[in-house]
């Protein structure tokens, strides 16, 4: 039965950190103030640790002395299907896995880690939002959560080749770098495709894309199904191995980075024979080694929205700032920036879940107040999902702010391409 499968999966998810975290929580309530879903709604049910309540009871009933005793005596209420159904919106709609609560808990609980694990049980019990289920199904069956196919990509490539005059190396065996993209980049922000081509061309790196592993979005991670997540990651791994690349470039998509860089090897159960590098990390490397040269600066006041999975949960923190400081003379930080920045509201599968739209737009007020505080009209970011979410939020609140992708901004400031392409 689904319920039993879900409970069993949650029990399986309880490892050392989980046991320690559940043991340590003193119900102080501080995590609430770190979570935009609470701060912007003031609804107590959005307190991060409360989202774990059913799993906490399972931990008590299975792993603690009193909990076990009371459970055996029938004095501790078993977790029911109705309860999990009730918790579904808390675990999915009101958590973007942004990681902010994990930095705030005084006893040290990594609540985001806990929610990620609880989702495994929720998905196993069938209690995941339809929107994310659908996205995951499309990813598994069609190869992309947004239904993007290789033909869509090829059309963009053709277009970009015409625009830039640079040939696109598709399925090039022996290239150094394999570039993967997110669905949103292919479907919505396709400007990124010519942008990377021009940058890589100037820097003279040997790169390729794979026709059977170009999609980096990983809905499996968001829904909390390690099996499906592994299958999606494996497509890229297979392509990378087949093409014998040394690096895989994770695109401007936060969750894709987490899926590939941090969860990937653990999902497929072996270390990668290649390195995963975030595109922004790579651009920073190229710039500091002098291979990527930019020219001119923009004096427009600009700020940077930190994609949670790239920055707080991913560790690519200074690189976007290094890059921006080179080309933006008026770069200003938001009041809380870097690992303390606030989520766009649409990470962790929330953007794929239409049921959560209203709540997501409501809690965007946090980003709005951050922007209001510095009165900046241009927000740079490096995650296509954040970008969509920011644009929707800006429209919803009738704000006069535009959002641009960092990679494209760099491409706009590329120094004249050298005549001779480097070998």
């Amino acid at each position: 039965m689904n319920l039993q499968r879900g409970i069993h999966s949650m029990i399986e998810q309880i490892d050392g950190p989980m046991a320690s975290f559940f043991s340590s929580c003193v119900h102080c309530g501080l995590c609430a103030d770190a979570c935009l879903f609470y701060t912007e709604t003031q609804e107590p049910k959005y307190t991060p640790i409360y989202k774990l309540a059913p799993m906490r009871r399972i931990w008590q009933q299975q792993f603690t002395f009193w909990g076990r005793l009371l459970f055996k005596l029938g004095l501790s209420k078993p977790v029911t299907d109705e309860e999990l159904a009730e918790w579904e919106p808390l675990v999915y709609d009101s958590c973007t896995l942004c990681g902010r609560c994990s930095l705030a808990c005084p006893v040290g609980n990594d609540i985001t880690y806990m929610v990620r694990k609880m989702r495994e049980g929720m998905a196993a019990s069938g209690h995941a939002p339809e929107g994310i289920k659908e996205a995951t199904r499309r990813a598994i069956e069609l190869g992309s959560p947004m239904g993007v196919t290789i033909n869509t990509l090829k059309a963009h490539i053709k277009h970009a080749e015409k625009e830039t005059g640079i040939a696109f190396p598709l399925d090039l065996v022996g290239a150094d770098y394999l570039l993967v993209l997110s669905s949103a980049e292919i479907a919505v922000f396709s400007e990124i495709i010519p942008a990377v081509a021009r940058i890589f061309h100037q820097a003279g790196i040997s790169w390729t894309m794979a026709s059977d592993g170009f999609e980096a979005t990983n809905s499996g991670i968001q829904i909390g199904s390690s099996d499906l997540a592994a299958e999606l990651v494996n497509r890229i791994v297979k392509s990378a191995e087949h093409l014998k690349v040394r690096y895989v470039i994770s695109p401007e998509c936060g969750h894709a980075y987490t899926a590939l860089r941090w969860e990937g090897p653990n999902l497929i159960g072996r270390p990668f024979p290649f390195e995963v590098v975030h595109i922004i990390e790579l651009l920073d490397q190229l710039q500091s080694s002098g291979r990527l040269k930019t020219t001119g600066t923009t004096d427009a006041r600009m700020t940077f929205h930190d994609p949670c999975q790239m920055v707080r949960r991913g560790g690519v923190i200074d690189q976007p700032r290094n890059l921006l400081n080179k080309i933006a003379s008026n770069f200003v930080e938001m009041p809380e920036s870097g690992i303390q920045n606030w989520c766009c509201g649409g990470g962790g599968g929330v953007s794929a879940n239409p049921r959560a739209d209203e709540l997501r737009l409501k809690v965007f007020s946090r980003k709005k107040s951050q922007l209001d505080a510095i009165a900046v009209k241009t927000m740079v970011t490096s995650c296509s999902n954040c970008r969509s979410m920011l644009e929707e939020g800006i429209e919803h609140y009738h704000m006069d702010t535009n959002v641009i992708g960092l990679t494209e901004l760099i491409a706009e400031h590329l120094a004249e391409p050298s005549e001779e392409p480097k070998p």
């Binding site: 309880i14 490892d15 050392g16 950190p17 989980m18 046991a19 320690s20 975290f21 043991s23 340590s24 929580c25 003193v26 119900h27 102080c28 309530g29 501080l30 609430a32 103030d33 609470y38 701060t39 003031q42 107590p44 049910k45 307190t47 640790i49 409360y50 792993f63 603690t64 002395f65 009193w66 994990s102 930095l103 705030a104 808990c105 005084p106 006893v107 040290g108 609980n109 990594d110 880690y113 860089r261 941090w262 969860e263 990937g264 090897p265 653990n266 159960g269 072996r270 270390p271 990668f272 390195e275 995963v276 707080r312 949960r313 991913g314 560790g315 923190i317 809380e336 690992i339 303390q340």
Partner: protein, 217 residues
């Protein structure tokens, strides 16, 4: 059993029992996560685990920089309670005397007046936190029976200890005080009071997980 014999028992066998339950119980609570373990992380690390883990243990003890008003209240009251409790526990001359008689080690005591202030402040913080727990919507929602139980168990030794100075029957009050202490000791490993140790493992894990990715948690 007369009062004298009861006191004798509580100070002897009773205390021994409570200390044994406390010690082994807590060791088990700390060992449990370690035994459950973690899957080996196969992703290539960007940073270390040990250093960042230790850093987070230290860092989360410091006063957080950004807090809302309710955050300020929780942290300040929390600090006062913990510090007051520890000062009373560790620097009251009678407590030091007890440790000296049992283990032979000792350290300087604080004057009784200072201890009374610490204990009163600690009690006041506990009272304030209780009121906050039942009035703050977030805390009321997330609190369970154990939160109230451990609140009582923690408060009793402080209250009864303070009452010793004013007690008409010192010996009887001492008995009540020692019982409350032994109850607390026995309860710690079985309740969320185990956070007195597991908070260190939690912070370490948190810092280590982030540190591995090159983030300072």
């Amino acid at each position: 059993m007369n009062q004298h014999a009861l006191l004798f028992f509580l100070r002897g066998q009773g205390l021994k029992f409570a200390v044994i339950v406390f010690t082994f119980g807590l060791i088990y609570r700390l060992l449990h996560p370690v035994l459950l373990g973690r899957k080996k992380n196969l992703a290539a690390p960007r940073g270390g685990e040990w250093g960042p883990g230790m850093r987070t243990i230290w860092h989360r003890s410091l006063f957080p920089v950004r807090l809302t008003p309710r955050g300020h209240f929780i942290i300040i009251a929390g600090y006062i309670f913990h510090l007051g409790f520890l000062i009373t526990l560790l620097f009251l001359s009678q407590h030091i005397e007890l440790v000296k008689n049992t283990f032979g080690i000792y350290w300087p005591a604080l004057p009784p007046g200072a201890i009374s202030i610490a204990a009163v402040l600690s009690i006041a913080a506990l009272a304030a936190l209780f009121v906050h727990r039942i009035t703050d919507p977030v805390k009321r929602l997330i609190s369970d029976f154990q939160d109230y139980l451990v609140w009582v168990l923690t408060l009793l030794p402080l209250l009864t200890g303070l009452a010793l100075d004013m007690a008409a029957d010192y010996q009887r009050m001492l008995i009540v005080h020692i019982i409350s202490v032994e109850l607390l000791l026995i309860a710690i490993p079985f309740t969320k009071l185990a956070h007195m140790l597991t908070t260190f493992s939690s912070r370490w894990y948190n810092g280590a997980i982030a540190g591995y990715k090159g983030v300072k948690a």
